[in-house]
Amino acid sequence: MISRFLLSNMDRRGYVFLALVAAIGLLVPLANLLVPAGSPFHVSTATMSLWGKYLCYALLALSLDLVWGYCGILSLGHGAFFALGGYAMGMYLMRQIGSRGVYGNPVLPDFMVFLNWQELPWYWWGFSSFPFAMLMVLAVPGLLAFVFGWFAFRSRVTGVYLSIITQALTYALLLAFFRNDMGFGGNNGLTDFKDILGFSVQAQTTRAALFAMTCVMLASGFLIARGIVSSKLGKVVIAIRDAESRTRFLGYRVDRFKLFVFTVSACMAGVAGALYVPQVGIINPGEFAPANSIETVIWVAVGGRGTLVGAALGAVVVNWAKTMFTSGFMAPYWLFALGVLFVFVTLFMPKGILGTAQGWWEKRRKPAALPAAEPAPAE
């Protein structure tokens, strides 16, 4: 049943995307590990980690597209779920340091020793176990999304209001995680990781494995999202996006459907964050910044909302462009470019790269079959 759920209704675009992710996930680590450094086909570890980061962002964008593109929930707080997943992973990595920290305390992470803490706070218990930490990667963002969504959707907070309170949510978490006495390393966050599952996080092979894992998770995330949106539930969710009240009059409990999609999406964002942390080597409260969440929205918008593949594509393209920009003489102008991108996409390319390309493609193939009146999405 599961495989049918995942693969039924898979279209050609989906297969292309899966094949692409699989190829990258296989070839890049190989090109890094097996191809000698001098060869033009060699991929440096730094490049691989950079692209690993992009792919984490792609998974985050995918999760956002699920709620925004299909359910019409513009979350301006998805960065919070990403960061929480990241912190869960970071806590595991901190506990793996053991007595190799600067202060050599076998139990307490360095920053706790520095703050004169005597014992590990209860919410750090269990994080030395990898399975537990992975469970938390899903559970913490999922639970937050569930509780937040349960309140918000039940009382029918929609549209801009919902966007603003999701932003308030991530802002509140930003402030909270900056506090030293929260027990998450305050301003500096969690860093100086050593091992993951007994392998050094710095090692080339670990990096390659993490990269491959990111591709696996991106593909899985895509399959799950794709399965959801092409099921009847997906149709309900789109119906909610376009005419929420009408859906309710058909007897669907709109709040529960939204809650389901929102929670699944938050878990996906958490996984993205968890993969991000070991590849980047740090997690700090900056990840909660509202600006980060809004940037995620623009990745989705650039790629094409409501297309899944487009969202992932948008994340990679925008972040690649960001790296290009900020590493050269154009660095000071990146914000100009990003700002213009926001304005340009919303004004001239509301369907994003993929949606626009798809429109051209369909127009050329069967111009007669186009709907007479282009329906406008309800917000």
Binding site: F151, R156, V157, I164, A172, V297, P332, L335, F342, L347
Partner: protein
């Protein structure tokens, strides 16, 4: 007070000071001069004390000279070198033609310096200037130096100025509190004096009561302490309320422009904070121009900055509306994204033009400093910002309710197509409304430049708070915005002492998130079918 009474008092004091113990004073002063000759630190310190208690007419001059190292002693003679290089006899105060023979400067150590400090304090008690006497009494109050008591008592008897007398009595009380051998009745009275004073210092002094005090005294002390603490807590609450109102007015200023663009037009302007920032930078530019061209106008710089900021921010707002937002009406989420992009562009533009660091915006003289009102410390800039926020609020209400433009704005808000059919140029009204909201944000920037860092990130720090205020107050309702801003401001400041600044803010954010669940349209929402449509 009549001159006669004053004269009689003065006479009484003179009689008291001079008549009977005059000889004794003369003798003790003589002892002091002897000790100055002893060339020992402890003798010198003692000499200072004795000299003060003797009320020798030259005591002030002598001790001042000693403090400066100009006091000369030797062979029984004591002289002082004056500041202009002359010499005088310490005993008589008469000028000498030349330096007396066989004298050398009296040496100082820390112990002596301390004695000098205490002495100068005591001597201040008989300074002719009442303000100086009050200051000296305050110094004695803090020092609680038992040896100052006789001088203090003499000064109290001598004092004719009410304020100075109270200060002296308080100083006396402070000493009595620590003077265990004082008459018990006097000490209880002293507690009462301190209770009346009722500030933090009085509290500290009362707490300094030695542990071996009598039970009666201790009970009086405990009662006085709890009374003062109660009073201080009340003032503290008042102070927090004031801070809250001040924060509330800042929030109101930042949010009220948003209440127009978001509340009246339904446009989510994420670049609103940048309009505030532009206002602040306009203030900076205006001040720079005034500094270089007409420095004498500096106190008026804000008066020039206000219209300038309104025009700059308003014009940028109109440009944004005409250039971007009008293509996105009815698509609030897209508007949100596009205006976020604009905010990035504006931030970067300002960063490129003015640099990433904070810019210095000066305060005109009428906005600097503070004054005290009862137990409240009130800074002028906060006070003016509250006044300014109130003015802006009233002006906006008036524009919306009383002017033809306001009428048209409301018409367009309620029924755009109908308004258009009635001949209102809705596009123009949209632009003007947006310009007004942005211009008001610019005005807010002028005010905020007085209390916040003027940097390219200025706007970012206000945007979320502003949205919270508007959403909490209920969209489309200026009064709601006012009440919301004040409520959030006061709640924030009242929470701060218990939860700390950050936790308090988090608590408020969580509260608003929960509140929106309960009342999705804010405190003062419109009801009915029209809203649902």
């Amino acid at each position: 007070m009549s001159l006669a009474i004053r004269l009689i008092r003065m006479l009484a004091v003179i009689v008291a000071l001079l008549a009977a113990p005059a000889v004794a004073f003369a003798q003790t002063a003589e002892e002091a001069f002897a000790r100055f000759n002893a060339d020992s630190f402890s003798d010198t310190a003692r000499a200072v004390d004795i000299l003060v208690q003797s009320a020798h007419p030259n005591a002030g001059v002598i001790i001042e000279a000693l403090a400066d190292g100009r006091l000369l002693a030797g062979g029984g003679a004591v002289g002082a070198k004056t500041k202009d290089g002359g010499f005088l006899d310490a005993r008589t105060g008469q000028a000498l033609s030349a330096e007396p023979g066989g004298v050398s400067a009296v040496r100082l150590n820390n112990n002596v310096r301390r004695a000098i400090q205490a002495a100068l304090g005591s001597l201040g008690l008989i300074n002719p200037d009442p303000a100086k006497r009050v200051a000296a009494a305050e110094a004695v109050f803090r020092a609680r130096d038992v040896s100052a008591l006789p001088v203090l008592e003499a000064a109290i008897a001598n004092e004719s100025n009410d304020r100075a007398r109270r200060a002296l009595r308080e100083a006396q009380a402070a000493i009595l509190i620590v003077k265990t051998d004082a008459p018990p009745f006097d000490r209880i009275a002293a507690v009462d004096v301190l209770r009346e004073r009722g500030d933090q210092d009085a509290l500290a002094t009362l707490r300094a009561l030695p542990g071996d005090a009598s039970p009666a005294l201790k009970e009086v002390q405990a009662r006085a302490i709890s009374e003062i603490e109660g009073k201080l807590a009340l003032w503290q609450a008042g102070q927090n309320l004031w801070y809250g109102l001040s924060l509330g007015s800042v929030l109101l200023l930042a949010a009220i422009g948003l209440a127009i663009t978001f509340g009246v037009m339904g446009v989510i302007n994420m670049a609103h904070g940048e309009m505030v920032m532009l206002g602040a930078y306009t203030t900076f530019v205006v001040q720079e121009l005034i500094r270089t061209n007409a420095p004498y106008l500096f106190d008026w710089s804000l008066a020039f900055a206000l219209p300038a900021a309104f025009i700059v921010a308003g014009a940028v707002g109109i440009a944004i509306e005409r250039g971007v937002i009008r293509f996105l009406y009815g698509r609030p989420l897209e508007t949100l994204l596009a205006t976020w992009g604009i905010s990035l562009i504006l931030q970067q533009a300002v960063r490129t033009a003015f640099g990433p660091t904070n810019r210095e915006v000066g305060a005109p003289s009428f906005m600097s400093g503070a004054f005290e009102l009862g137990g409240l410390a009130i800074t002028w800039n906060r006070l003016w910002i509250i006044v300014f926020a109130a003015l802006v609020f009233v002006a906006l209400l008036a524009i919306l309710k009383l002017t033809p433009m306001g009428l048209q704005m409301r018409a367009v808000t309620q029924n755009r197509r109908m308004a258009a059919a009635m001949g209102i140029r809705t596009g123009r009204i949209d632009a003007l409304t947006f310009g007004l909201g942005s211009g008001v944000a610019g005005l807010a920037g002028v005010a905020l430049s007085q209390i916040d860092n003027v940097s390219p990130n200025l706007g970012q720090s206000y945007i979320i708070d502003s949205f919270m205020v508007v959403v909490f107050g209920g969209v489309g309702n200026l009064w709601g915005t006012l009440i919301s801003a004040m409520t959030l401001g006061v709640a924030n400041k009242l929470l701060e002492p218990y939860a700390g600044a950050v936790l308090g803010k988090i608590a408020l954010l969580v509260f608003i998130i929960l509140f929106i669940q309960k009342r999705p349209r804010g405190l003062f929402a419109l009801k009915g079918r029209a809203v649902e449509a």
